[in-house]
Symmetry: D2
């Protein structure tokens, strides 16, 4: 940690800062330059990070040096983490192809879609039973009934399942039926929910919040890891931007960026990122070429009758074409499906 003092700092202010650092059991290291005096702080940066040193009179800036995510970071844990969801592995060279409808609407339609995406090459089935909707008047999901359908259909097609948990009180229920929790973008900083899923050992698909930096995403993963659950898969799903022709802006560079900082797998969800079926296939291909550990795509056999997010669903036939291309791209980047 480096503390930069103001140009006109007094000796009394300098002494006070140094005293505070000693109080914290750390060692200050004073260095007077031509224009500024700076104080290097040696010792456990996490101890000092939480301290409001910036608030001390005479302090201009506090510059942290170390990364704040210890468990999610690659500095200590260098090898890629591989997360196991049922018999599917995510990470290393193994890719997850997660597909299914936005919301679970009924057993029959879910079964149809599951059969089609499985045949095309998907290996994990998704579907929402609890739906976070902007409007209180929109379809809110089938709840436990939906979870049962998901479990049954998943078992029939031998696909592990992932579904969203929105409320810490739902965690035990979702835990009973699904193979992987999804924590949605709107809940990326719902810290009580993160702690709750952190207390299980079930894999968690943690989606990036709409205004979260890559560092924020890793800090949210840290919440889950700190509770003892090492099975976290990150998901880039687009962030808010001024561009108004897509639902969000897909930050593709988050893939190599996260891979440099963290050992956790990261997949990409082009469905929510773009909200446009005409852009999803190109973005899914780009994600694979960028080194993502998987892709998450919403597929619906009749988008115009879907109860949630129909306009962004891919038709099964287009998903199958996409999978053909993804297989070839995966080979080029040395991944296996």
């Amino acid at each position: 940690m480096i503390i930069v003092l103001r140009p006109n700092v007094t000796q009394g202010e300098i002494d006070h800062v140094i005293e505070r650092i000693h109080e914290l059991g750390l060692k200050p290291h004073l260095s007077k330059g031509e224009h500024r005096t700076i104080i290097g702080v040696i010792g456990d940066e996490n101890k000092i990070r939480a301290e409001p040193l910036q608030a001390i009179a005479g302090v201009e800036q506090v510059l942290p040096i170390l990364k704040p995510f210890k468990l999610a970071g690659r500095e200590i844990h260098q090898a890629d983490t591989v997360v196991q969801v049922g018999r599917v592995r995510i990470g290393g060279t193994a890719m997850a192809m997660i597909a299914g409808p936005c919301a679970i609407e009924g057993a029959e339609i879910l079964d149809t879609i599951a059969g089609l995406v499985k045949k095309a090459g998907a290996n994990i089935l998704r579907g929402g039973a609890f739906k976070p909707r902007t409007s209180p008047y929109s379809f809110q999901g089938l709840g436990e009934e939906g979870l049962k359908m998901l479990r049954d259909v998943g078992q029939r097609h031998q696909m592990p399942t992932v579904t969203e948990v929105m409320d810490p009180r739902q965690a035990p229920l979702v835990d009973r039926y699904a193979d992987m929790f999804q924590v949605g973008a709107r809940n990326m900083q719902n810290f009580d929910l993160l702690k709750e899923v952190g207390q299980t050992r079930k894999p968690v698909l943690l989606k990036r919040g709409m205004s979260a930096t890559v560092k924020d995403l890793l800090m949210s993963a840290e919440y889950i890891l700190a509770e003892g659950n090492p099975n976290v898969v990150l998901c880039e799903r687009g962030v808010r931007s001024f561009e108004d022709s897509t639902r969000n802006m897909l930050d593709m560079s988050a893939v190599p960026n996260v891979k440099g900082l963290s050992h956790l797998p990261i997949i990409v969800d082009p469905s929510h990122a773009t909200g446009r079926p005409d852009l999803i296939p190109a973005m899914a291909c780009a994600a694979v070429a960028a080194g993502a550990d998987g892709v998450h795509v919403e597929v619906h056999s009749c988008p115009e009758k879907a109860l949630s997010d129909g306009p962004q669903a891919l038709l099964p036939a287009r998903f199958a074409e996409l999978m053909d291309r993804i297989r070839k791209l995966a080979e080029v980047v040395c991944k296996t499906l």
Copy 2:
């Protein structure tokens, strides 16, 4: 609702769209222009809003005409809502001056700060017992013990209190001790939490999410109102932007913007918006001049020892100076403190 069809739409596609509209019990109104065919839809727009018409072949755009927030909107409910928190009124010409420390750290320090802000003119006391922190290693709040301190100190200084609720399971506890719930920016779309506080009749201070549009904010208010709780006060507290010298970007225009769209009171929190004590007074003054129904400021008597967000706290003396200026500005814009 207006449906714009693609340039090369076929008659079969047009017929199919019209059929779907009839199925929904609504009336289509076809209009063929030189370059495009459009279909106006007459009837309950909320019925059709949830339908994925955009997903139908041949449809280029679906343009909604009506606002999606019925209860929060001003179209039906035209008069300004005044929310009562203890003996304090917020809305109309009455302003809330909410002040206090970021986190409740102890009874004594809270009492000191409460005494100082009360004397300076604050009328509601704030303080966090449950703290949403980016890092799992940061101070997470004193919980129920903190809530008790807040209640006691508030009573002693005859100030109603507001404190954050982060988890639906905490709602009954917070309800017992505080006079107003705060739903923080990170939870603005925690829909289960919104429903939970919506089921009480206690006032709710709903903060705008970091990537929420004004419309999103009103839709989240709609969740609370739809559960039956009419006592919602909105709060602008800055949004994420590329500007890196302030913590967030304070969207001051949200004040008159919300006032045009909604009857609900709106206050401004310059502390979280800027994260910088040198900018807070100017932004608090600007908020009052812009017509805000109140201001929310973090004050700490020793920022350098605060357990949370110390660097953005105002010293009590500076808060008192600010209140002097606010009183004069409030008079110009015909508000009373």
Copy 3:
């Protein structure tokens, strides 16, 4: 164009709007719904687009239906445009691999880099002689001397060249030496410069502005096309966002998005988009998989001594590795290098 009237619009206001539309030689089409009255306007939307109908009393919204870019749009001109730069073709199945240093620093170093990138597979040489620098104290480029070096080195290695033009007064000079103009992100809406390069027939590489939407980019291309120059290649190079770990945010979805709206080729510049050599290869690969018509990469044989943007330059050896991977990916997406 659809004009939505306010809920409480008077008959006098409606009559006035209709009169204005007739004055413009267009046909209004009134439609009264339950909650709103709307007026469809039939005729040349470009005529009405410039009119401030939104300013008329009683008007709530004006919703345009047609795209504002006629020449850049795909509605009239459906086939992909192929732009020829020297002997290199960009567009259709032909890809441009543009590489070279950020700034031209000297003939020798430019020659070295050109030899290396040519050998690795680049087909167009880049290098800046006029540099737009944030600080007036930074290296501003070698000017005409640099342009001569670029021409000579390009000829020696049989590579056509592209270089930035920043000022309309420089256009004749740049035209004399280079094979393609580059209009940089900061000048995307320097309309006098766009008109100037539009009056030549030399290809223009038009980079997206840091806060430009895809539609804004196409409107800027429209300026060049409207002057008679059809040889425009678009370039996605990242936009400003709240993410602070990359220089900009690469909007990869702009590639298929532009391809849907326009017939013009679009390439991707991962160097400026990310500003980080560790992310550039993954983003270049992703761009190819997304269907881009080329990639633009800054390469320097000694980044630590580069006079401009050294930290984001790729080393020649890493560029060569990247080209190997790009060749394989291009094959999968049916492009030729």
Copy 4:
């Protein structure tokens, strides 16, 4: 400047960095911590700022300590600058009230508007003769003819005038007729234009670019100051954001933020920032309360017939009401009109 080395840096890499610093005539100051080695660099930071030290192997981060704007910054030049435009002073306690139509459309209408805004209390007349329009098909301004009208009308009403210059080639012409140059948001980083107006001694109104940080704005001012022209007035006019109900997002905190960093005056333009007449008065009032040195408002006597930006123009009667309120607010913040 502080250079942070990577965790696994080698001694050879450290030696190389130190050698490079010595080559630049600066003094390195090595400090080995538990987790990281850092090198403080003592000497002229501007010398090292332009050097690509980040590109050296083993370097993780380069942290600048000093501000890059020397002439615009307050560190050396501490007193507020007051810029004189004709007989109007801007800065210190003196406020500029700049008003007029977006574009100059004709002598008569300009004269009418000038008379009305002057009577209401405006002290500088604005009007565009060269218009930067997103579309090449929109009205582009009257050019020199418009400049003559502006000069004549300004003289008749004894108001100094400000008008936009878009192209360095127009600078002599604009210089001849107007009292103040305006450099628009789209040209904030048109460095050749900045140099051109910097070579005159005429005041320059420099508007913040749509994706410019406060620091970028000050760096652009630095370009003008470095050419020798000290008469720069900054203008906050909104930046691009995800909020889609306003044209831009007005960053009100830029006012005190700039005042802390720089001695230059800063005014606010709520017309372009919001694009909505219903929000302009509240934002103009907020700007005054925030300490702005002036306000810039577009006024038109018949917005529905304006040739440019009519929908965002204020009617003269509403402008007069606004001025009444501004006068009272200015008094509270100790400014004079």
